[in-house]
Symmetry: C2
Subunit: 191 residues, 2 copies
DNA sequence: GGGGCCATGTAACCCGTTACATGATTGA
DNA sequence: TCAATCATGTAACGGGTTACATGGCCCC
């Protein structure tokens, strides 16, 4: 499933410009499960237009590029439904954060803390953001997907918090409990 | 972070062939957060060898291609550590399953059920599989990552089960509760 | 005055996947 | 006998990202 199909999906929710579709991938409801940049969205829209799966209304604007509002055509909707009927491929995940957590013993404590923090913050802010979107567009599918995303972000944040100590556990040492500065950093290997 | 770096990471866990590294992405501990095919692994190993980040021992085998066992060099380990010290990029997720759940109202009930089932089965079998790997290699990082994966799979499976009805809820009709066959499929749009 | 938002698009590049090529062994 | 596992590699192709190109408005 490519960006073209996702653009069709975006347009089922209402007419939109390329710029607005991009935002759906960045902030909006798609951010949870897909990503796409301008460099793929604008060409995709161009192809869809050529194939008459979308139509466009050009709004002239003074002092800005013309705004091109795209709409789904009947053929576009049919095409989208057909794409959904194809069995989904395996989900693709690439998490550089988890790579770093997995190989924590090859990292300096400072770097590891930074990774942990940015990951936790990411999940928390995504969860807050999803919660903030009031479900106006409520179809059962969208509610279901929203709930799934929320569960995901909350579960990940909870795990990170609950197991923090396990990650930063020193292999051997068990003494220095009352010190207030990070006591020892050795073998940082930064050259 | 590219496949080359991940290969270095794989080799920190012990010498391995390209074939074995592939399996780590498919079955093994990496499957959780990354994927890579032969077409990227073999060339990656070739480049790493050229750059002397890995070394190779060729084992002649009768009736099979020579087995090439790769080992991490000191330079390779240093390189890997440096790569880990770079702040991680945003996690990338592309889930065709969630796309379909999100757009459930554009799917036939039959197709939707199939998607739901395959997703649930996927999470359950991944969770079972992760649980089956006894943590021999136990570093705190690996345990932490394993736990995170487990939490993820379990949370997703639980959500799917708990909210099943919400997904298959008919928009309007509230009568046919005692029928035993799926009563009505309309607007399937399959041409 | 500077950064962020609105708004569209192109081109080079990178990286990875898919499919192809080869082939014996083992177990159901 | 047929599928799976072991075992390595290449080439074509595809799809998306990054960076570039342009430019005014609005708020701090």
């Amino acid at each position: 499933m490519d960006v073209k199909t996702l653009c069709l999906g975006a347009l089922t929710m209402g007419d939109a410009t390329g710029y607005e579709i991009r935002k759906m991938f960045e902030d909006g409801p798609f951010a949870q499960f897909f990503d796409a940049s301008y460099g793929s969205i604008y060409p995709a829209l161009g192809h869809l237009l050529k194939d008459e799966l979308v139509s466009v209304t050009q709004l002239a604007q003074e002092k800005r590029p013309d705004k091109k509002v795209y709409s789904l055509t009947a053929a576009g909707l049919a095409h989208f439904k057909k794409a959904l009927a194809v069995p989904p491929t395996k989900d693709k995940i690439r998490s550089e954060h988890v790579v770093r957590l997995f190989f924590a013993d090859y990292m300096s404590k400072t770097d590891l803390i930074a990774v942990y923090q940015s990951y936790l913050t990411h999940f928390q802010s995504q969860a807050d953001h999803l919660r903030s979107l009031q479900p106006e567009n409520t179809t059962s599918g969208r509610l279901f997907a929203r709930g799934l995303g929320l569960k995901f972000y909350d579960a990940m944040a909870a795990y990170l918090i609950e197991n923090r100590d396990q990650l930063f556990e020193e292999p051997v040492l068990a003494a220095a409990e009352t010190t207030n500065e990070t006591p020892d950093l050795q073998e940082l290997g930064n050259d």
